[in-house]
């Protein structure tokens, strides 16, 4: 009764095997120590087939057979295995292909179909994978409106000043420059267009050998090390040439400043900034920091990194921004170095260094400059999606600035690195690495030559800086636009000037040219975030794969596991059979005859019909006596099997298998 139900439920139909198994099992004595865990009870007696679609109500609990079930069981033969696979597989085409061998026509037809769908599917898979592995990104633009952190604002005087330590050197330089100017341009005035280019060397008291070559128009200078290999830097305008030359010497002089030399007496905010307000509130000491730039002079960074509490903007507009009144009087500083008057302002992120060269506005004296900002952030996807870096740690350039990674920082660091490598000293405008000193022709007499060479290599990217320095993945930029109005107005200038000068104990001599006003504010608190996101994610890729798979094959990942299981089983069975054959041949010659008989029969029948090999291991010697009673017990039940095969009203595929084994 119990067996009947089970058969019905399972819908299995290997009968001949069962019977044969039942008969043969007691005969098998081959021990299989390797598979002690796999006892013989593969095809239990309960595997009877109940063909009738009408289920019998007699439902007996299956517990006893469950207990006997081993940890892992293998089929006795390939035939078993294939039959089992054919009956239970979920791969759609495979059933028709593998399980309908009896009909060549059908098999061929299914093989073609199967191959077609297989090809289609893999073609589609290839397309999907190609799309995924090209790592496409889609751009998202978000408009956020938020309270914004006010960026750092750096204002410079555009007045580099004279350090007392290098006063002597500078005066000497000035004197030579003056002499050169008069000499050069007096001479130049006599020069006619057709004249041959000639050079004249100044026996300057400065250690660097400088040669002025002048042509009808271009004026230049030459940095030279041993006169064998010369570098000519020419300028179309004498002004540029002289300035550049002066700058070169100034750098050298500056590099002699000792390290310990810090700020000087000019470090007074009041001398440059008359008033400072943010968000209608006056600024305080904690709001700014100071540094000196060799060209741009005294620079003050407001709301920089070391601001105690960062300024926030919760409203747009002039009144809610930074407002500065600046003193822009040109002092007697260095006339050949700074040829512009006013101030320079740049807006940058808190954790970025202020690159005064790279961005910024020059403020005109006597004018109120209103700089309105609009924030924009850009988030790129790193990793496979693009070559950007999150924190610069994967860039082979050491960050010399103590700040966040930006591309500009990296490029400057990279240049400095090559400079140190090539020329042996550090360029003064960039931070120097440890244990390296700034370039000075007193110590490194050919650095100028080296520098200009390097500069050329740098700009043509022979140094590889532009390829080494990756873009940062997230960039915050501020779009600036400026409006100008005259300040102070005629009617108000009297009292404004008066008050400013009174307050600062300082008389503004040059009235309007001596002051400038600066407003920096957010134009709007909306900011645009451009971010990238993967347009094909793993989830969508899997969904698409699944769709294609279902469409063409109707199988799933679990079907693949089934296949894997089949292959595993095949391998194990092959191994066991080989083992058994080996044993039967060498160990027990008596039974070997029987084994040989079986072996002989194996090739005779086709692979799935290799009925003969009962897995010897399964009939392990130890369990077999135990199991044999239970196994021998069934025979009476098998009596019911007699009618079973005849009325099998099952699928054609399974019945075909069945019929195949009959002969």
């Amino acid at each position: 009764m119990a067996e009947e139900t089970k058969r019905e439920v399972l819908g299995l139909k290997p009968k001949g095997d069962l019977i044969r198994e039942a008969e043969e099992r007691p005969l098998q004595r081959n021990p299989a120590p390797a598979l002690a865990l796999a006892p013989a009870g593969l095809m239990k007696g309960d595997k009877c087939e109940e063909p009738g679609p009408d289920p019998k109500p007699a439902a007996a609990p299956q517990q006893p057979t469950e207990e006997e079930e081993a940890l892992i069981e293998f089929h006795r033969s390939y035939r078993d295995l294939f039959q089992f696979f054919c009956n239970n597989t979920t791969i759609h085409g495979a059933i028709r292909l593998v399980c309908s061998q009896h009909n060549r026509m059908k098999t061929a037809f299914w093989a073609v179909l199967w191959l077609c769908t297989f090809g289609m599917m893999y073609w589609q898979f290839a397309l999907l994978f190609e799309e995924y592995f090209s790592y496409p990104v889609s751009l998202n633009i978000n408009l956020n409106s938020d309270k914004l952190v006010f960026p750092a604002v750096t204002v410079c005087t555009l007045n580099p000043y004279r350090y007392t330590q290098m006063k002597g050197d500078l005066e000497e330089l000035d004197r030579i420059t003056e002499q050169t100017l008069s000499d050069l341009y007096k001479y130049n005035s006599f020069n006619t267009l057709g004249s041959h280019p000639r050079g004249r060397r100044f026996c300057s008291p400065l250690p660097s050998v400088l040669v002025y070559s002048w042509f009808p128009t271009p004026v230049g200078f030459q940095c030279n090390q041993n006169k064998s290999d010369c570098f000519y830097q020419t300028y179309s305008s004498g002004v540029d040439a002289v300035r550049e030359w002066y700058r070169f010497h100034y750098i050298n002089i500056l590099s002699r400043l000792p390290d310990s030399f810090t700020s000087l007496e000019e470090d007074k905010l009041g001398n440059f900034i008359f008033s400072c307000r943010f968000n209608q509130v006056s600024c305080s000491q904690a709001n700014y920091s100071h540094f000196h730039h060799p060209i741009y002079g005294n620079c003050y960074t407001f709301n920089g990194e070391n601001n105690s509490n960062l300024w926030m903007s919760s409203m747009p507009g002039v009144n809610n921004g930074l407002s500065l009144t600046l003193r822009t009087e040109q002092n007697d500083f260095i006339p050949l170095l700074s040829t512009v008057t006013g101030a320079r302002v740049t807006v940058h992120g808190q954790d970025e260094p202020a690159f005064m060269d790279d961005g910024g506005f020059n403020l005109r004296p006597g004018v109120e400059t209103s700089i309105s900002m609009r924030k924009e952030t850009l988030d790129r996807l790193g990793g496979n999606y693009g070559d950007c870096t999150y924190n610069g740690s994967d860039v082979p350039v050491k960050n010399l600035y103590h700040s966040k990674y930006t591309q500009q920082v990296c490029i400057h660091s990279c240049f400095q690195e090559s400079m140190v490598k090539e020329c042996g000293c550090a360029y003064i405008f960039y931070p120097r690495p440890e244990h390296v000193e700034y370039c000075d022709y007193k110590k490194h007499d050919s650095w100028g030559y080296c520098y200009y060479k390097l500069q050329g290599a740098f700009s043509s990217d022979r140094l590889g800086c532009f390829t080494k320095c990756l873009k940062p993945c997230s960039v915050t930029s501020y779009k600036l636009s400026a409006g100008y109005s005259r300040w102070p107005s005629v009617t108000s200038q009297d009292w404004v000037f008066r008050m400013l000068s009174l307050q600062n104990n300082y008389t503004i001599k040059n009235k309007r040219n001596g002051v400038a006003k600066l407003n920096v504010f957010f134009k709007e608190l909306n900011y645009k975030t451009n971010s990238e996101s993967p347009s094909v994610t793993m989830v969508t890729l899997l969904s698409n794969l699944g769709s294609q798979w279902s469409l063409w094959f109707g199988s799933s990942v679990l079907s693949v596991v089934e296949m894997a299981e089949l292959i595993f089983d095949l391998m194990v069975i092959t191994f066991l059979m080989l083992l058994r054959r080996f044993r039967s041949r060498y160990w027990s010659p008596g039974r070997g005859g029987r084994g040989a008989q079986e072996v002989a029969s194996t090739p005779a029948s086709s692979l799935p019909s290799s009925v003969c090999p009962k897995l010897p291991s399964l009939a392990s010697s130890l369990p077999s006596p135990d199991t044999s009673p239970t196994l021998t017990a069934p025979p009476p039940a098998y009596a019911t099997l007699g009618p079973c095969p005849a009325p099998s009203s099952l699928a054609g595929a399974s019945s075909s298998v069945f019929t195949l084994e009959e002969p």
Binding site: A70, S284, M315, S481, D494, V496, S547
Partner: protein, 651 residues
């Protein structure tokens, strides 16, 4: 009894709804696993070997978990948007351009109102800074400053005294009006920079705002006296102007003919009639070009020749010396239905300069709920729009502040429009308003008013990116004839010879006629989601919606019915056991025979409870076992017929 059973059998036979496929949950599961189309389940049952079975259970469960996880990811990312950027090349509508003079009112016209204030300001300047001579070309009639003190008691200084604070002892202040040292009570909001005056830091100037009736005071100090005086002046100025009716203010300000000396648009001359008046509280009369909704101008070409060219007359002599300290005009480019926030986003124009402003139009469209928090027209934002203009975030913030101001302080702030049923603050009626305003503003900046969280951005907006460049204008050689011609042109309006610093030239134009549209569109649709679901279900388990229905049927409906039946049987057993001691004469064997009978033809509780209960007491009638055996056999035959009610029979 027998007829009852028969009826029951008949009903069972004819009942369209049968019970579950198997008598126990275990059997049901087995049945399901063998019959289902979902991959994996069949293997659990079919596989031989405990390990194998276990592995298959693990595989199947993993697949189910993966399906759930992946589908959850799909659902979570459903509301994402994709952005498309389109560049159109088309004839572009010119935006509205609003131009204001920085100085709101002609000083000569407004002076009678401000005379007292001016006097006191000058007096304050003199006392504070010893500064007495203001050489103004216009105001020669200015009184000697000493007389300012002889005049009537200064009311402005009295209301809000300007004070000099000592750097060292910030709690001490000198009211310079009386010269007395007074103790400043209340919280000192010390905004003075200790830094600013490192040289020989001394006093800072500020003023004190107190709320009448309470002792709460706030002291505002400024690092620079210029700022202090300007703030102080502005406070009083707003007080005074708040009492002036609008028509009078419009008249005091500049007329369109006065401000706009020449006008040229798209190669065609235009004049003051093309401009509409817009009165701004802080900037006076502003004029908007191209503000008429129905007749918007458009440019046929890009470039400065085809834009708007105006020459503005900025009469510097009419400037209010204390209110504004810079000279020029402000211009703002905006949509026709947008409110021009001159003070926030205007671009300044300098006199004696030609300012070229190149525009580039970007349109943005966002998707609203549920993709983002933006609002289409502001109707779903709980803030009344007090501006007569289309919703924007700015408008919302300002409206919110103004509403709160009316709520807390009882009056409206001067620089923003009036909400209904409110009037502008002035200290005749609201003596405390300034203190209240400052406190409120502080709370607003610190986001304590909740405006920032309530206001949402608008879903679509147009944005003009401006690029400004400057040139000296007029050039030295053209200056003479140009000024002369312009003076002759403006003969009626301006009674003086124009100077080049009185004029400013402005050019506004489209750099090109490319328009950039940034549009969001849903990245996912329901079909996409479903097909992705299908993909996931198919990929892992070859499952479909039918499978899901099957699962629901088997796991919920059938399993529940089985459980319910078992519970019912148990309850019945328990009941019969409880009944048993009540009738001890019944032999236990009888009961043992009885029970299976009762169990066998048990069905859904709803179904049986109606039928079962009446026979139950009957069954307990002892002493008549033989007929019961008959029914038992009958029952057995009966149960064989019913395919759907399989109960473990006694083997």
């Amino acid at each position: 009894m027998a007829p009852g059973e028969k009826i029951k059998a008949k009903i069972k036979k004819n009942l369209p709804v049968r019970g579950p496929q198997a008598p126990t949950i275990r059997e049901l599961m087995r049945w399901y696993c063998l019959k289902t189309n979902t991959h994996g389940c069949r293997r659990i049952v079919v596989s031989r070997g405990r390990l194998r079975r276990l592995l298959w259970i693990a595989f199947t469960l993993t697949a189910v978990a993966l399906i759930f996880w992946q589908c959850a990811l799909l659902v979570l990312s459903f509301y994402t948007v994709s952005v498309s950027i389109k560049i159109h090349f088309q004839k572009l509508d010119f935006p509205a351009v609003t131009i204001c003079n920085i100085n709101p009112y002609k000083y000569s016209a407004v002076k009678p109102l401000l005379a007292d204030l001016e006097q006191e300001t000058k007096a304050a300047l003199k006392t504070l800074y010893g500064f007495s001579e203001i050489k103004s070309r216009k105001r020669r009639e200015a009184q000697p400053w000493s007389s300012a003190w002889e005049g009537p008691q200064p009311k402005f200084l009295h209301l809000i005294p300007l004070m000099v604070f000592d750097e060292s002892e910030t709690s001490k202040a000198t009211d310079f009006l009386t010269g007395q040292k007074r103790k400043v009570s209340g919280s000192i909001i010390h905004k003075a920079a200790d830094v600013m005056h490192v040289q020989e830091s001394k006093e800072v100037v500020g003023f004190q705002l107190c709320s009448n009736g309470t002792s709460h005071c706030a002291v505002y100090t400024f690092s620079s006296g210029v700022n202090a005086i300007q703030e102080w002046y502005k406070l009083h100025y707003m007080n005074i102007m708040a009492q002036v009716p609008l028509e009078k203010k419009v008249n005091m300000s500049y007329s369109a003919e006065e401000l706009l000396v020449t006008c040229f648009f798209d190669g065609v001359s235009c004049d003051a009639r093309n401009f509409t008046l817009f009165h701004h509280p802080m900037y006076g009369n502003c004029y908007t070009f191209n503000n008429k909704e129905n007749e918007t101008h458009s440019t046929s070409m890009g470039g400065s020749e085809y834009g708007l060219q105006v020459i503005l007359y900025i009469n510097e002599e009419e400037y209010n010396p204390f209110l504004v300290s810079s000279t020029g005009a402000k211009v703002i480019v905006h949509r026709q239905d947008e409110y021009p926030f001159i003070e926030d986003v205007g671009t300044e124009i300098e006199t004696a300069m030609a300012t070229s402003i190149g525009m580039h139009l970007t349109e943005s469209f966002k998707l609203g709920e549920p993709y983002s928090q933006c609002t289409e027209d502001g109707s779903d934002v709980p803030i009344d729009n007090i501006y007569n203009a289309a919703y924007s975030l700015q408008i919302c913030l300002h409206s919110c502040f103004q509403t709160k101001m009316v709520e807390r302080c009882g009056c409206a702030q001067y620089s923003q429009p009036l909400p209904p049923a409110a009037n502008y603050c002035n200290y005749q009626q609201h003596p405390n308003w300034m203190y209240c305003y400052y406190e409120l503003h502080k709370a607003f900046v610190q986001e304590k008013l909740g405006c920032q969280s309530v206001c949402r951005e608008a879903c679509s907006f147009k944005e003009w990116t401006l690029t400004t460049s400057l040139a000296q204008w007029p050039s030295v050689v053209s200056e003479e004839w140009l000024l002369r011609v312009l003076t002759w042109d403006q003969g009626q309006q301006i009674k003086k010879k124009l100077n080049k610093t009185d004029l400013a030239k402005l050019l506004i134009f489209y750099k090109d006629l490319n328009q950039r549209s940034i549009m969001e569109s849903p990245a996912n649709s329901v079909e996409m989601l479903l097909s992705n679901f299908g993909g996931q279900l198919g990929l892992w388990m070859s499952c479909s919606i039918v499978c899901i229905i099957e699962i629901i049927e088997v796991f919920f409906i059938d399993s529940l019915s089985i459980i319910a039946r078992q519970q019912w049987q148990r309850a019945k057993k328990w009941w019969s056991q409880r009944q048993a001691p009540a009738c001890p004469e019944a032999p236990p064997s009888l009961r043992g025979q009885d029970n299976p009978v009762l169990d066998i033809d048990d069905d859904l509780p709803t179904f049986t409870s109606a039928l079962r209960l009446p026979p139950a007491p009957e069954a307990q009638v002892p002493g008549t076992p033989p007929p019961r055996y008959n029914t038992l056999r009958l029952e057995r035959a009966f149960s064989n017929q019913l395919t759907d009610t399989q109960v473990p029979a006694e083997s």
